[in-house]
Each structure stands twice: as structure tokens, then as C-alpha cells.
């Protein structure tokens, strides 16, 4: 996962589903795919983590294909408070991806 690619920014409207993809062609065998959310002037906050297939928690879902070369964070029915930067993260190298700035409009 060490070298990752994410879209720089995305726009959405309240109530819509947002999918953010991270490409990680060189993911290590022991790497877990992890996503963090960061608001301005705050530290990143853990959202979700998975190794393969699909993981769901109370705030998001994470889809990971069999080859694990990418992952998709899915945020259902976003609200204005979901406006933030979203990072995929390499647990092997402790490196953040480039980040996706999500802007949610009313």
C-alpha cells in the first residue's frame, strides 16, 4: 500500500452516497487497508479497516477486490459534517496516501 493514488477532490450533495477510491499497486502481504478522516486543525480519525472483501461499520463500508490493488471507501448518505479530507493509509509503512478533499453541499 506504500505508494497510493487518490483523487485530489470530490464534490457531493447531502444525502448522496460517496465512493472514494485508493489505488495501491504495491501493497504488502501484511498490509491492512485503513482509512482516516481529517477535519481542519484536527488529527486524523480512524474510519474503517479491512484486509480483503467487504467490511462495514456504523459509518462506512470498505470494498477490497481480490487482488487488493485498490480499495473503495463508501460513505452512505453524506451530510455537511462529512466535509473533510479522507486518507487511505499503509499500516505496513505507516504512510498516508495523498488524500481526497470531500466537499458536501446542501
Amino acid at each position: 500500500l506504500a505508494k497510493t493514488t487518490q483523487p485530489i477532490s470530490m464534490d457531493s450533495y447531502e444525502g448522496q452516497e460517496v465512493n472514494i477510491t485508493c489505488s495501491h499497486n504495491n501493497i504488502a502481504t501484511n498490509d491492512y487497508i485503513t482509512w482516516y478522516q481529517q477535519f481542519p486543525s484536527q488529527g486524523p480519525r480512524f474510519i474503517i479497516q479491512g484486509y480483503k472483501t467487504k467490511v462495514t461499520n456504523e459509518v462506512a463500508s470498505l470494498f477490497i477486490p481480490a487482488d487488493r490493488k485498490s480499495s473503495t471507501l463508501s460513505l452512505p448518505r453524506v451530510s455537511l459534517s462529512d466535509t473533510a479530507v479522507y486518507y487511505c493509509f499503509s499500516t505496513d509503512k505507516l504512510i498516508f496516501g495523498t488524500g481526497t478533499r470531500l466537499q458536501v453541499f446542501p
Partner: protein
Amino acid sequence: DTEVTQTPKHLVMGMTNKKSLKCEQHMGHRAMYWYKQKAKKPPELMFVYSYEKLSINESVPSRFSPECPNSSLLNLHLHALQPEDSALYLCASSRTGATNEKLFFGSGTQLSVL
């Protein structure tokens, strides 16, 4: 208590000053981390302590000196910094430092070097 507390929240220092950043957690975590984040960039790993021992130093200049006095405290001593060192300094902790653990971050110290 799932909080990582960083002090001060803001710090302005001259290039000849010596200052320290402090980080504290009471979750019983045994791994602690320092990250540096420039504006509109992702956080970059600086140091990792595991069981109070320095386990990772990402080739950080010696003007940054980490210290882990005990499992709850992490300090970052600053000396002779440069203006380009101005950034948000983030502290994090995790349970043991194992690969798949979630990191808990503080809100950071916004450092300005004049």
C-alpha cells in the same frame, strides 16, 4: 478515555529558541508516534516509540529530538529550527505498535518558526 492530548496547541519560536512539544495518553497504549503535516499535505511519519524505545526514525534532522519518559508521555524537543519546519505536529498512539492497529491522534501543535 480515548484521548491523546497535545500541548501547546500553538507555538511560535525563533530559530535560536529551544522548545518542547508534549503528548499524553491514558489508554494504556505502548506505541507512540510523531507525524509532521504541512498545509494541504498528508501527515509524514517522523518517529515511532514502542514500549518506550525508539523503533523508527525516518531520517529526521537532529534539531528534532524525541523523548519517551514513560508509556504515557511523548515529548519532541526542538532546537535551532528553520522556517521550513513550520507545520502541524501530530502525536498518535496505538495499543502495541502491531501492524494492523488503529492509531489515535491528538489535535496537534501548530508550530511557526520565525
